[in-house]
């Protein structure tokens, strides 16, 4: 196992990513930083909801959007974790060319670098959910949580997001450094289609198919069902589908997504090498 290039690439990159992500400050400031951002993001939605509904937090709509938003934090975290590594290593640390010449499996290295953001993201999700349960009456009963379903869905979802990040990493190899995190922007765009903060029925009929094509939609539905089944049942989007159906859809769509991501990354990687973009710096 220790000789496996893939595993070694992954573990070393995980350690490196964690150092980069966390050692810029002391642990207290790092923890504060990790709390403020997600709590502020959730507070925007809570305030929007509370202003319009006069604070009716008992409605299933609130639990739906709150939990969807909480778990959606994994999307930008993992997408950015994988894809930003290209910019970070290529233009900030200028080490990407050395990594390419080292005995490293690049996709596994990129996945490893995302582990730190995944850990911080998990911290954010836990904090957000805890705040919801403690202060906003989010109806989460730990004894009624379907843990096997939750863990399987979470694992599949993170894997699917990491593969999505690989697609973005490939695209990033071929583009300049812009003034934003590509993963964050893509996650912001997908926020609309995945039913994270409102049921898909709210979207115009012509936009809904986009949501049905995205594995993230099924992943979030499974997460909601495993945590608060009653809330998920209050919305008609997937009532005709059982948990097993949703898991199969998530699995198949993740597989398709995974295969596509490998091919897209390989193509972009080849193009970047052909055009001499592996060590480019873009600073405008």
């Amino acid at each position: 196992m220790r000789k496996s290039v893939n595993l070694r690439s992954f573990l070393t990159a995980s350690w490196l990513g964690w150092q980069i992500e966390s050692n810029w400050t002391d642990p207290f400031l790092f923890a504060t930083y990790s709390i403020i951002k997600p709590v502020a993001g959730a507070a925007i939605l809570v305030l929007m909801y509370s202003i319009v509904t006069q604070g009716n937090f008992a409605s299933p709509v609130f639990a739906y959007l709150y939990l969807g938003n909480a778990f959606y934090q994994y999307v930008p975290a993992v997408l950015t974790g994988v894809s930003w590594t290209i910019i970070d290593d290529r233009e900030h640390y200028r080490t990407l060319k050395y990594i390419y010449t080292a005995p490293v499996n690049i996709p596994f290295y990129l996945f490893g670098r995302a582990v730190a953001k995944f850990i911080v993201g998990t911290f954010s999700v836990v904090i957000t959910i805890a705040a919801g349960v403690l202060f906003l009456n989010v109806p989460l009963d730990w004894s009624r949580v379907d843990w096997p379903l939750f863990l399987i869905a979470l694992f599949l979802g993170i894997l699917m997001l990491a593969l999505g990040g690989l697609i973005l990493a490939g695209i990033t190899l071929m583009t300049a450094r812009h003034s934003y995190y590509i993963g964050d922007v893509v996650a912001g765009g997908l926020f609309l289609f995945t039913g994270a903060i409102f049921p898909l029925e709210v979207l115009p009929a012509w936009l809904r198919p986009v949501g049905y094509l995205l594995p993230i939609t099924y992943w979030l539905e499974l997460i909601r069902r495993s945590l608060v089944g009653a809330v998920a049942e209050a919305f008609p989007t997937f009532t005709s589908l059982s948990n097993a159906d949703l898991l199969i859809i998530l699995l198949i769509s993740s597989l398709v997504f995974g295969v596509a991501s490998i091919f897209i990354f390989r193509y972009c990687d080849h193009q970047a090498r052909e055009r001499g973009l592996i060590d480019q710096t873009t600073n405008y």
Partner: protein, 281 residues
């Protein structure tokens, strides 16, 4: 024999300032023409993000003016992003790349370099803001009831002056920072969206919270703009438009003046402590 012709006309004073602004904004505008992927990532995708907040309001049955609030707020986020990533933290990036030392040893004033960054970045930012306003208004059928066009122009202009003044001020602080600059800029996104009322009327946060948030020019700028362009705006406004204009004038003067002094002071400090070229990685 010299490779370069002798400089016959050396610019100084305001001419040097102006040429520096043009010189620093030029690569931004040209860079965007050469690398058009930003159109998709910087204009189209943020538009979808704004749409998501619109549908949240639709899902919970909010009054239609709230949809307009989100569209206008979403457009204004572009300017905050620009100040944060293309001005404040840009100096940290320039330091890492080695450009900062070149800026300092050149005769060009740093204020002009920062202004050039702002002007160049504004090109993309304006496009993004206009796209969000135009497409958002069209798709979501936002109806505007502009009560005073001149006040609207004044509020927008003052908000931009104060905001970019704040950007220049924070950029000078970022001169001293290292890797934490990136994280601090990242931290100033969602919390600022929250306290400046990007997606809801800031009045709802309560008087003192809204008053404290007014230090960020977007808070009052956005509040005043909403009061001026929406029928229900005045009833949901935090302070009267006239008061907000006066506060924005004060913020503009304070931030631009403070930026000038702070930049000069921190540049001296950074030179003395040898932090302009440090690269702690």
């Amino acid at each position: 024999m010299s490779l370069f012709p002798p400089i016959e006309h050396k610019r100084s004073g305001w001419q040097l300032f102006l040429m520096t602004v043009i010189g620093r904004s030029y690569p931004r505008v040209v860079g965007m023409q050469r690398e058009r992927s930003w159109m998709f990532f910087d204009v189209f995708l943020p538009l979808l993000s704004v749409a998501a907040y619109v549908f949240v309001y639709r899902a919970i049955g909010a009054p239609e003016d709230y949809v307009g609030f989100v569209v206008v707020g979403g457009a204004m986020t572009a300017f905050w992003m620009n100040v944060l990533w293309s001005m404040s933290s840009q100096l940290y990036w320039e330091k890492e790349q080695g450009n900062l030392a070149l800026y300092i040893i050149s005769p060009a004033p740093m204020m002009a370099i920062l202004l050039g960054m702002a002007v160049g970045g504004l090109f993309a930012t304006l496009l993004r803001a206009i796209a969000i306003i135009a497409v958002g208004s069209l798709i979501f059928e936002v109806t505007y009831a502009v009560s005073s066009f001149w006040q609207l122009i004044a509020v927008f202009s003052l908000s931009m002056i104060a905001l970019y003044g704040l950007g220049m001020m924070t950029a000078s602080i970022f001169l001293l920072l290292s890797r934490e600059a990136w994280h601090l800029a990242n931290l100033a996104m969602e919390p600022v969206y929250l306290v400046s009322g990007m997606y809801f009327p800031v009045k709802n946060m309560g008087f003192w919270a809204a008053a404290a948030a007014s230090v960020i020019p977007l808070t009052l700028g956005l509040d005043a703009m909403r009061q001026l362009v929406f029928a229900s705006g005045p009833s949901l406004g935090f302070l009267s438009v006239e008061t907000e204009i006066i506060v924005l004038i004060l913020l503009s003067v304070v931030f631009v003046t403070a930026a000038r002094f702070l930049l000069a002071y921190i540049e001296r400090l950074a030179v003395r402590e040898g932090r302009l070229t440090e690269n702690r990685r």
